[in-house]
Symmetry: C2
DNA sequence: CCATTTCTTGGTCGCATGACCAAGATTCTA
DNA sequence: TAGAATCTTGGTCATGCGACCAAGAAATGG
């Protein structure tokens, strides 16, 4: 008998099932980050986890189902990390600073996860299940966009398209895993400071030339 | 007999050979941009080009050889476009502005090419031939880094790590193809203006608080 | 105009993959 | 502990892949 793996997990999973799923997802993360999307297969994931390949098919409907779970797990992990890091910032400038620095630190301490996520986001281009993955990305853009818009409404940020700035910032953030992989010795704290400083300069309302007519 | 496809093309290619190679590369670009890296195969490229699949194997040593040619062609195209666009800028600020706006316009008028390039850069993670592809990226980072460093030496830019800023800017640039794909109706000219303005604010030497001690 | 080189096709080969299945091992429950 | 539900294995299957090859078509040039 097959367990109910569908999108709607109406029933609680057994202890063993939950543990196995976590183990498989974790192995998938490591294989994805080490070998890339193209070379990631059930056989390799199973070998790395020390289990049979068929077991993955038992716990997940198909490859797409597994990858969606991987994305969901990593996103949840990152969301928790960032929420905790942003905390109760007094200003939007401060919240943005903490968001950026928190993300850099997350990349540093979860290198395999962010590399795997990047592989999945890039590797599913055009596929039908890519829709769900892409919607996760849209959600990230939307959250940043919302923060920027509120910051503008509170007069902390200058006038720019929040959507544009969110996409631009997210691009800078997504470049970080690759850079840390290419140059493992990078001074992460300094990188975080530089990045938050850079975007602070880019979005803050200038104190000079408050030129408004009328 | 097989043509000499190796990395060193010591001999000139025949007219037919050059035309075929261009046709195959162009078809590969379109398939990559439409279906993504994972679903791109010789069979699909050949079908899209209206030729036999074996013909690709005749003109290219293997898949890796073909993809390297695709990357080289797109890079050459982009290099030419950007060089022309930057032209003879008087200042580094102006050169950076033209680089950014030129890139946005390039993405707009070569959507398939930039999407294909993104698929190749992301899709070869961990592979051995990925080395050559990644070195192309390192070259892009290096060129931007060099421009930023010179701008600093001329006193036009504030103090930051050129390497860091190059990676950050390149990330923002690489986010553009995906955004144009996700929102085809984007006002490209406005996007270009916003992006160049944003990075101008981020890198220029502040006229306020010229705080230097001594 | 014929001989040689270049170009192209269609087919075959071995390989890796994801999905599936039957049967056995393990765990749970009453 | 006995029966039932769950978990796991190892195997088979069809599919799609890149590479390769033999043979013929087309272009080339002396």
């Amino acid at each position: 008998m097959r367990p109910r793996n569908g999108a709607i997990d109406q029933k609680a999973r057994s202890f063993i099932e939950a543990a196995r799923r976590d183990q498989i997802v974790q192995a998938a993360v490591e294989i994805l980050s080490e070998l890339g999307y193209a070379k990631t297969s059930f056989a390799r994931i199973a070998e790395h986890a020390g289990i049979s390949a068929g077991l993955i098919s038992y716990h997940f409907d198909n490859k797409s189902d597994l990858f969606q779970q991987v994305v969901a797990d990593i996103n949840a992990l990152m969301d928790g990390w960032l929420t905790e890091h942003i905390g109760d910032a007094d200003t939007y400038r401060e919240a943005l600073r903490r968001l950026i620095e928190g993300f850099v630190l997350f990349c540093d301490s979860h290198r395999a996860h962010v590399l795997a996520l990047g592989q999945l986001l890039a590797g599913v281009g055009g596929q039908e299940n890519g829709e769900l993955v892409r919607s996760q990305r849209e959600q990230s853009v939307g959250q940043i966009e919302q923060m920027l818009r509120e910051g503008q409404e509170h007069g902390e940020f200058r006038d720019f398209s929040p959507r544009f700035m969110a996409v631009t910032l997210l691009g800078s953030l997504e470049a970080i895993p690759g850079e840390l992989f290419a140059r493992p010795g990078t001074d992460v704290a300094a990188y975080a400071k530089e990045l938050s400083m850079t975007y602070d300069l880019a979005v803050r309302r200038s104190r000079l030339r408050r030129i408004t007519r009328g």
